[in-house]
């Protein structure tokens, strides 16, 4: 964590909202992206990202700086999204189709790419997100944690409160499920088979 983060956090602890906005401006896109990957639609992504950031603000006093602010922030986001996803799986009757429908709304992509590539990439990404959305909550969560957020197996086992073995086998099944569904849309695959090293 850099010095400016440190200083900003001190200001936030005094109730400085501007400092907070300044602090999260570096992270909010990533936060939003994570939320979007979990829920696959912009409304939920906004809602949950905001919820996560507010939770960060609320508990800023409990942040002691043992880890970097970003690590702590993403952990909070992950927990918020994971809990919400689990809660929905238990309580809501929102169908997968509905979520896929919501996911169709256009996403604003990073602007640093050539426009054609951007369009292609966007379509591709929407398709991948759709497939992701079609996974069960358990599979979606573990795949996003591992392959999008890049958490280690240990971290995942901590988040999900399960054993490493469970993480391994569940991740394997989730990836395979994802692979099968992607293969149904052959065109997503470039066909280049990379050898394992």
């Amino acid at each position: 964590m850099n010095i400016s983060d440190d200083a900003l956090i001190e200001k936030i602890k005094q109730g400085d909202l501007d400092a907070f906005e300044q602090l999260i401006s570096n992270y909010e896109t990533k936060v939003y992206t994570i939320a979007y990957r979990y829920f696959g639609n912009y409304n939920d992504a906004s809602d949950l990202a905001q919820e996560a950031l507010i939770r960060v603000y609320r508990s800023i006093n409990s942040f002691r700086g043992e880890s970097s602010f970003s690590t702590w922030l993403y952990r909070v986001v992950t927990n918020v999204c994971k809990d919400e996803l689990r809660r929905r799986a238990r309580h809501t009757t929102v169908s997968m189709d509905e979520m896929i429908e919501n996911g169709r709304s256009p996403a604003v992509e990073n602007k640093c790419r050539p426009i054609e590539e951007m369009i292609i990439r966007k379509e591709l990404q929407d398709e991948v997100q759709e497939v992701l959305n079609s996974l069960s909550e358990d599979y979606r969560t573990i795949v996003i944690m591992r392959d999008i957020q890049g958490y280690s197996y240990e971290e995942i086992s901590y988040f999900l409160e399960c054993s490493l073995g469970t993480v391994k086998s569940r991740l394997n099944r989730a990836r395979n499920a994802l692979k099968e569904r992607l293969l149904e849309r052959r065109d997503l695959f470039t066909g280049t088979h990379v050898e394992a090293n």
Partner: protein, 612 residues
């Protein structure tokens, strides 16, 4: 390694989290198995796709919405430290704290309302007036028990007497009241059909039972601790022909023959059975019953005089129109000399078979053929030993007396026209006790009254009792004026015809006179010194009795001219508690509802907090 096993491990193989053995085994298998190799490639492509997913830029509104939500957030704890307390409170109340605060206030309100109710409902008796009310309610004579100690004793006793008087014509003989010593028990009954055809009991008659009862003096003291002995019991009249201070009047049916401890102790159990026989017929029946009862006890008495049972001498009075029977139970340990005297001198001729000289406890049953009832054994057994040392005895004397108000008609006629005295009981609520007190004093003076006793209890509100004696003529006016002094919460006026008792007492007086004459005659004829001595003793007793009877007669004559007014005064403060008492059930609704809603608020508060 099989394909199925390899497939399980491919994901971990890509991530490089397999141990070296597994890793090499998988790699080995992949080299020979194209199927698994393709699987691996597909998986890797999948992962690559996922990782290639770009960032998603939040919409423009994201920052604004976040800002709005953040501003609704409570301040972080660090910020709160720098606020002054009013700001802190305002800040705290702006959050879920307001629910907590409201809940606490509501619960506090409910609890205090409940406590107030509790106090008002009198679960914690604080004032004597409450005690008084309770005792009154009991309608029992329990009050006697504590009477001497309590300052309000006499007023209380009075009230209770009054209650009982006016309450019914029949007070069960089975509700005796225990006194501290509990040794004396008087059951009295009187059927007084001649003077009270309606069978109503008069106040004096109850009082009489107490006053005329065994420990006469002692009881008077008990009733009026300040030494105003005359107070409550003043109009009392002795019962006919009681041969000792102690006697009880048992009801005609003989249900509950009284047991009187002849000891001088002033403690006693007094149960008053009052049966006002409504008609002459029933009176006759009761006479029959009475006759048989004492007879039975008499018959057993002599045989048992040596030990087992207590002897029950009976003293029947035979007169032209009625009987008086007194039964005495003598301590079994006593060797008693029993003398049987036919009471009615007119019938003496028929009863001369008795043996008046017996020293050795001979009992004589004398039938009285001249009486209305053939079965009626009329006896009078006199226990000399008992009589000479009644005070020292621990034994019990039981006297059952049936008093048919059969006074000698001629001698009492003149008393009949005596104006009936009235007794009144007033329960008054006053706003200012001191003011009332001074006004009352003026009234008492104006109407030539006498305040016989007062008792007051200071407390949250003053409560007091008065017993006022006032000339009969002034009674109504006096009562009216007292009523005007406050709010009347209870009123009772009862007639009291003293003439009946006067008649009885007079008839008894004449009986005693006759007995005296007879004894004088016997003394003259006495053949031995022993006999003469015995008769002298008896004579002395009769004379003693006459004196007492005369005293009672005087008292009665005086009391007939006075009315008693008993007052129960309470200051209005105490009265306010009464509605609370009455509405206590409804009154609990509010505190309960308040506390319940407060708890609901608390629950809501904690729910919010947990969510937050």
């Amino acid at each position: 390694m099989q394909c199925s096993e390899t497939r399980e491990l491919l994901s971990a193989y890509i991530d490089g989290v397999l141990d070296t053995n597994e890793n090499s085994a998988v790699r080995e298998h992949l080299r020979i198995c194209s199927e698994c190799s393709r699987n691996l490639a597909d998986l890797q492509e999948t992962i690559r796709l996922l990782r290639s997913l770009g960032e998603v830029t939040p919409p423009e509104s994201f920052r604004q919405e976040l800002r709005a939500r953040l501003e609704r957030e409570p301040l972080p704890a660090g910020r709160i430290k720098n606020l002054i307390w009013t700001q802190k409170a305002r800040y705290w109340l702006s959050g879920p704290g307001k629910y907590l605060a409201a809940s606490v206030v509501i619960i506090g309100l409910g609890v205090s309302t409940g406590l107030y109710n509790l106090l008002q409902s009198g679960l914690f008796p604080q004032s004597a007036s409450y005690d008084m009310a309770l005792e009154q309610k009991a309608g029992d004579r329990v009050a006697l028990e504590s009477a001497p100690e309590k300052s309000k004793a006499d007023s209380m006793t009075d009230m209770q007497l009054n209650d009982q008087d006016a309450g019914s014509t029949k007070a069960s003989a089975t509700d005796p009241v225990k006194d501290t010593a509990g040794k004396q028990k008087i059951t009295s009954d009187e059927s007084d059909m001649l003077h009270q055809p309606d069978g109503n009991r008069l106040p004096e008659q109850n009082e009489m039972f107490i006053a005329g009862a065994p420990a006469d003096e002692a009881l008077r003291k008990a009733l009026a601790p300040e030494g105003k002995g005359g107070g409550a019991v003043e109009p009392a009249a002795d019962q006919p022909a009681g041969n000792s201070d102690n006697y009880s009047l048992a009801n005609p049916e003989g249900v509950n023959p009284g047991i009187v401890d002849s000891g001088t102790t002033n403690s006693g159990t007094i149960g008053s059975g009052t049966t006002g026989s409504g008609t002459a017929e029933s009176g006759a029946v009761s006479q029959e019953a009475t006759g048989s009862d004492p007879a039975a006890s008499v018959s057993s008495a002599p045989e048992d005089s040596s030990g087992a049972g207590s002897t029950s001498p009976v003293q029947p009075f035979v007169e032209s129109s009625g009987e008086m029977v007194t039964a005495m139970r003598v301590p079994e340990s006593e060797t008693t000399a029993l003398e049987a005297y036919p009471k009615a001198p007119e019938k003496r001729a028929g009863n001369q078979a008795t043996n008046p000289d017996s020293d050795t406890g001979v009992s004589n049953e004398s039938e009285n053929p001249a009486g209305e009832e053939a079965l009626l054994n009329q006896q009078r057994l006199i226990s000399q030993s008992t009589r000479t040392e009644p005070a020292g005895e621990t034994g019990e004397i039981s006297i059952a007396a049936d008093v048919s108000g059969a006074a000698a008609p001629g001698s009492n006629v003149k008393d009949r026209d005596q104006e009936a005295a009235k007794d009144g009981f007033l329960s008054i609520e006053v706003s200012d006790y001191d003011d009332f007190d001074s006004k009352l004093t003026v009234l008492v003076d104006r109407f030539n009254g006498i305040v016989e006793s007062t008792a007051s209890t200071a407390g949250k509100s003053v409560s007091a009792g008065f017993v006022i004696r006032v000339p009969v003529n002034n009674f109504n006016e006096m009562l009216r004026q007292i009523e005007a002094l406050g709010r009347v919460t209870g009123k009772k006026v009862s007639d009291r015809d003293v003439s009946a008792e006067i008649a009885e007492t007079q008839s008894r007086m004449s009986n005693l006179q006759k007995e005296e004459e007879r004894l004088l005659g016997l003394v003259d004829k006495a053949k031995s010194l022993d006999e003469a001595l015995t008769l002298e003793k008896e004579l002395a007793r009769v004379r003693d009795e006459m004196e007492k009877t005369q005293g009672k007669l005087n008292t009665l004559n005086v009391s007939g001219k006075f009315s008693l007014i008993r007052l129960d005064i309470r200051e209005a403060v105490a009265a306010e508690a009464e509605p609370a008492l009455q509405t206590s059930t409804a009154g609990w609704l509010l505190p309960t509802a308040l506390v319940a809603s407060g708890i609901g608020g608390l629950a809501y508060y904690f729910r919010i907090r947990r969510k937050g």
